[in-house]
Structure formats: C-alpha cells, structure tokens
C-alpha cells in the first residue's frame, strides 16, 4: 500500500514552532483569509523563508497557502510570494483563485500546484481545465460528495487531497466583520482575530475569524478512514488553522495512529480513537458534505453501515 500523506494547516512561524510536527508529513503555511493576520507568512516574506527553512530542517514538506479572495491590488504581492516560493523550492502552492493559478502556471511552471477549496471545483470538466493549467492535486469544492469526488479523480487521474478533520470555511468576505466591534471588545487589528469569536443561534454555533466564517463543528472522518483508504485515497489534510498548537499535534497523532490501522477495517479501533479525539472538540463533529447530506450532520460508521444495509 502506498504511503499516506497527512498535513496540517498552520498560520504562522510561531505556531509552527509550538506544534509537535511528528505526526505530519507536511504543513500548509499561512492564513489565507487575511493578509493582515499577525506575522502571516503569505504577506511577511521573512516569516515565510524562516518557516520553510524550519520545515525542511524537520524533514517535512512545505506547502504554501495563497489568498482565498485576492483582489487585483494584491496580485503583485502574490506574484512576489510565488517567486520566493520558487526560489525556496517549496513542495506546493495551494491556489484558491483562477487568476493566481494562471500567474503561477505562466511564470513559475516548476511550482507544484494544488487546487484549493475556493477555486470552486464542482465538475469533472472543471478538473480537466485545471489539469491544463498544471494542477497536480485537487481539493474539490467543500460541497461535493464522495461519489462525485471519486468520479473526478477516476476520470482525470489527478490526485485528490481530502480534508478529513477540522473546522472548514462556510464563506469568505472582503471586509473584517470583527473590526465593527473594536469598541465593545477593546481589541483592534491585528490582535482582535487572535481571540475566539463565535456566532450562536439556538443550537447553532459558528466560528467567526473576521473575513471568513467557519463551521462551529469539526469535520471528522476518523471513523470512516478505512472506507476512504479502501477507496484509494492517500492524501489527507487536517484543518487546524484555528486550533491551539498542543491540540494540533495531538489531533495529528490520533489520525496518524488511525491511518496505521486503517487497512484492517475489521479491527479498526473506532471507539478508542473517537474517545481520544472528542477531547479536542467543543462543539461536536460533522462529516461535511461527503455523504451527500447537510454539511453540519454527523453520520457515524454504524449509521452509515445501517444505511448501506438498507440500500442493499
């Protein structure tokens, strides 16, 4: 069986150094939702260089995030970052915009390109188009289900990276919502988004980080890892952008252990692993859209098995 690749998202060099990277094969560097985020490597190139060097020293792959919603005025800075990434020979660029994809493909063809969740890949024809622009790895739209992702992967032969854990974005905007509340909180940019802001309504909880709204629940596919491995997926990502550094390492450790046992679906220790993971979730789990349902719902392995049995 081919080796797995497990990656984490880490917003800054300080966070990188505070995280136990042992379970991870690579890291997505940077905070893609706001260039003003403190010490964001996608805007602060000294931090970027130091972070890439740190990862290389640790023997980890360095992937670099790009802006989720880049405006035209930002493009020269993105281009400058791509140039540095090419010099540093990073392992990949997470591209979230068709325009940045065009720039990267034209000017830095040596950079491996990963199509991120905001490039809005919804269709097989979309994947074929991205392949023409040099994309090697796809992360399809968050709203696609596993059947659709399988189809895209099988028909294009492109590698797919699956988000298997963590809060995921529900939408982005171009102005920071948190800045409307500087007076009430006594906080201002760039400190305000380092705090934990939540939106609640009845039983609903969402996380707000200023220019992006995140699911309050953690997407969790731990119980279903043997299924994903059985489908042939080998590349998994944990969404840990807002996760405290100690938890990030622990979550990685749990998933790494799970992957080591995922080939043996019968003896896969679901309950033990889930119990461990629950320590790091305050607002519960969901499966996102992988099973074709509303994004906030969680379907356990047992429920999924029961569904399959009924279908048969």
């Amino acid at each position: 069986m081919a080796a797995f690749e497990l990656t984490a998202e880490i917003p800054t060099l300080d966070q990188l150094k505070a995280t136990d990277l042992t379970p991870f094969d690579g890291v997505y560097l940077g905070q893609p939702y706001c260039r003003l985020y403190r010490d964001n490597p996608i805007a602060n190139f000294d931090q970027l260089k130091a972070a890439v060097a740190y990862l290389k020293e640790k023997g980890k792959k360095a992937y670099v995030s790009t802006d989720a919603g880049p405006r035209s005025e930002t493009l020269p800075q993105v281009q400058a970052m791509l140039e540095i990434c090419a010099e540093l020979e990073v392992d990949g660029i997470d591209v979230q915009s068709l325009g940045v994809l065009r720039l990267a493909h034209r000017d830095f063809p040596q950079l491996p390109l990963i199509a991120g969740g905001f490039i809005n890949l919804y269709t097989l024809e979309g994947a074929r188009t991205l392949a023409q622009y040099g994309v090697k790895v796809l992360r399809p739209s968050y709203e696609l289900n596993l059947d659709e992702i399988n189809l895209i992967r099988d028909e294009t032969g492109l590698e797919v990276e699956l988000l298997v854990h963590g809060k995921f974005p529900l939408g982005i905007t171009d102005r920071c919502f948190l800045l409307d509340y500087q007076e009430q909180t006594g906080l201002s940019c760039p400190d305000i988004c380092l705090e934990e802001f939540w939106m609640t309504r009845g039983s609903w909880t969402l996380r707000h980080i200023g220019t992006a709204l995140l699911s309050g629940k953690q997407m969790c596919m731990l119980e279903h890892l043997p299924h994903l491995v059985g489908l042939g997926y080998r590349r998994f990502r944990i969404g840990t952008l807002t996760t405290p550094a100690p938890h990030r390492g622990e979550m990685g450790r749990i998933y790494r252990e799970a992957l080591a046992q995922a080939a043996d679906a019968q003896h896969y220790p679901r309950e033990t692993l889930m119990k461990e993971l629950e320590k790091y979730s305050r607002h519960g789990f969901c499966n996102g859209y992988y099973f074709g349902q509303s994004g906030h719902l969680y379907i356990s392995h047992a429920e999924k098995a029961a569904q399959s049995a009924t279908t048969i």
């Binding site: 989720a68 919603g69 405006r71 035209s72 005025e73 493009l75 915009s97 068709l98 325009g99 994809l101 065009r102 720039l103 905001f118 809005n120 919804y122 269709t123 097989l124 024809e125 979309g126 994947a127 074929r128 188009t129 622009y133 399809p140 739209s141 968050y142 709203e143 696609l144 659709e148 189809l151 895209i152 028909e155 529900l170 939408g171 982005i172 905007t173 171009d174 102005r175 919502f177 509340y181 009430q184 909180t185 705090e195 934990e196 939540w198 939106m199 609640t200 309504r201 009845g202 039983s203 609903w204 969402l206 707000h208 709204l213 699911s215 859209y289 074709g292 509303s294 994004g295 906030h296």
Partner: protein, 317 residues
C-alpha cells in the same frame, strides 16, 4: 458599443413585460440549471416561446447555466446548448469554468459570460476566463471603482449588477446555507437540485439575514445580522456608462410582474438619460425609486421569512 440593459425572465409574462419596459436582453434559467427554484426556471418549450417573443420585440434572450448541479453532467449541458443554438439563442451565462471551456470548444460561435457565482474578483481571474474563450464577466457585488477598472482594463466585456443583493459573503463562495440544511431533490424534469445550496441549483435559506448572537469566548458582544443589503444603483449609473460597462443587469426573477416592470422602466429611463448625456438630478430619481424600493423590500422580507420557515431551521433555534 453602448451600454445595454438586461432584466430577469422568471416567467413568459415577465419576459414580455421586461422587453416591453425597455430591456434589450432578458435572461432565463433553463430548468434544472440555474440558481433559482424550479418555478422561476423554464422548460424548453417555454424557452422557445420566449425566443419568439424576443424576435418579435427586437430583444435578445440570454440563458443562464449558473449552477453546478452534479459533478459529471457535461454531456447534458452540451445537448442543451446545442438545442438553443439551433433556435437562434447564442448567449449564455455560465457558472462553472469547466463548462465554459467545454461549451466554447464545442460551439465557438456561442457568446459566453461568467456568472457572478464564478467568483471573478480580480483581473487575472478575468484573463484566465479570456484564455478559455469567455467574452464577458459579471463583477462581484463588493467591487470598488479601482477593481472594476482593473477588470475592464483586461479588455473583457463587463456586466454589472445594478439591482441585486450584496450577500454577506462572496456569491459562489458561500455554503453557509447548505451547511445548515441541504436536500437532494428532483424537479419536474428529473433534474437534480440541492435544495439549500444556491451553488448547486437550489435556493439559499438566507441564514445571514437571521439575528445571531455574537460573543467573545462566551461573553456576549452583540445580537447581529450579517450585512446583506438589497441595493438599487442610481448614482453609480452615469459613471458605469462613462466607463463603458457593456451591460447593466437587474436581478429578480422571483419578484412580482408589476414590480419588475416598474424596475425595468425606471432603469430604462435612467440609462437613456445617461446615454443622452442629460444632467441627472439624483434626488429626483431617488424619489421616483422610493415606492419601488419599499415594495421590493416588502416582497424580499416576505420571501426571506417564507424561506426560513420552509427550511425547518426555525425548529432548531
């Protein structure tokens, strides 16, 4: 090239009404392929009838394929486009960049516009689409003048929404609604619609318009709604015309026929005044708009309340 006006065709009557009120173009969602519920879309027979109405009234139909129903639907969209091309309709607004490339390869004579849901927010995005054969892009609803100029400077044809909703997030890059509630449904022609996901042909439950508690680590900060205003441009229109924006679009297939007729007449008159270089008294135009705006807000509020009830989300709060 002069700036033209495009209006919504949520029904055959609305198509006729909008042409008669002065729109040069009317857009229609082929059933199963647009960002609205099925009742505001049309089957092929109705589209054919609308093409005849357009011919009689000297207007043009644009068909909007601005949703992504299922990942592997590409043959179906080509068959649809081929049928419409045979009927003399060659204008299409498309959401998915894969479909754009595929349609252009199969039908080089088709005029393609990238929908607002395609999330085109910078000049390089526009150039990417030019590379794959797209002629026009719709600007997002959060543009500023510099961004609009940057898009325009690429040489691509531009469409700007002049009556629409800003949405809290970028249109096309939001799945807040489907996170909360999404159901796979089928319309009367058996097309898939993911109810709750506007990106996937269903509707948006508009959760951003509901009041939410906003807190900092458990400490209440505010009770708030997200910023999602429905807007009418007035002051911006002369500058859009001077910039050479090619098309001004009025959104609103779901509004009542009489209201839409008045909105189109209003903008026809305002656009003509701008094109004729008349002096624009904005206060007078705002006053003329006031009653239209009040009725639009009322219809929008009713629709939002109905959506929330229909979503079932009220039961969870």
């Amino acid at each position: 090239m002069t700036t033209v006006l495009m209006a919504p065709g949520g029904s055959i009557d609305m198509v006729r009404c909008c042409f008669e009120a002065g729109a040069e173009f009317v857009y229609i969602g082929p059933r199963g392929w647009s960002r609205r519920r099925s009742e505001y879309e049309m089957g092929d027979d109705e589209i054919k009838e609308c093409a005849e109405i357009a011919r009689q009234l000297g207007g043009q139909i644009r068909l909007v394929f601005n949703s992504n129903p299922e990942a592997g639907h590409s043959d179906a969209i080509l068959r649809k486009v081929g049928t419409y091309m045979n009927w003399g309709i060659n204008q299409f607004t498309v959401n998915d960049f894969g479909y754009m490339r595929q349609i252009k390869e199969a039908f080089p004579e088709a005029f393609l516009c990238a929908s607002v849901g395609a999330h085109i927010i910078n000049a390089e995005d526009a150039r990417f689409l030019q590379d794959i054969g797209v002629e026009q892009v719709v600007s997002d609803c959060k543009w500023d003048w510099d961004e609009l100029q940057a898009l325009k400077d690429t040489g691509i044809s531009m469409e700007v929404l002049i009556h629409a909703s800003t949405c809290y997030t970028f249109i096309g890059s939001c799945w807040w609604s489907s996170y909360m509630e999404m159901d796979k449904t089928f319309d009367i022609e058996n097309n898939v619609k993911f109810l709750g996901s506007p990106n996937r042909g269903g509707l948006c439950w508009r959760p951003c318009l509901e009041p939410w508690n906003f807190d900092l680590g458990g400490r209440p900060i505010a009770r708030t709604r997200m910023d999602n205003k429905a807007f009418f441009f007035i002051e911006e229109i002369p500058r859009l015309v001077d910039m050479g924006i090619d098309m001004l679009k009025i959104q609103g297939r779901e509004y009542s026929l009489d209201l839409m007729g008045e909105i189109v007449s209003f903008y026809r008159d305002l656009l003509d005044a701008c094109l004729n270089k008349e002096e624009i008294d904005f206060a007078w135009w705002r006053e003329r708009l006031a009653d239209i705006e009040r009725r639009r807000d009322l219809q929008r509020a009713r629709a939002t309340a109905k959506l929330y009830l229909e979503s079932g989300l009220h039961a969870t709060v």
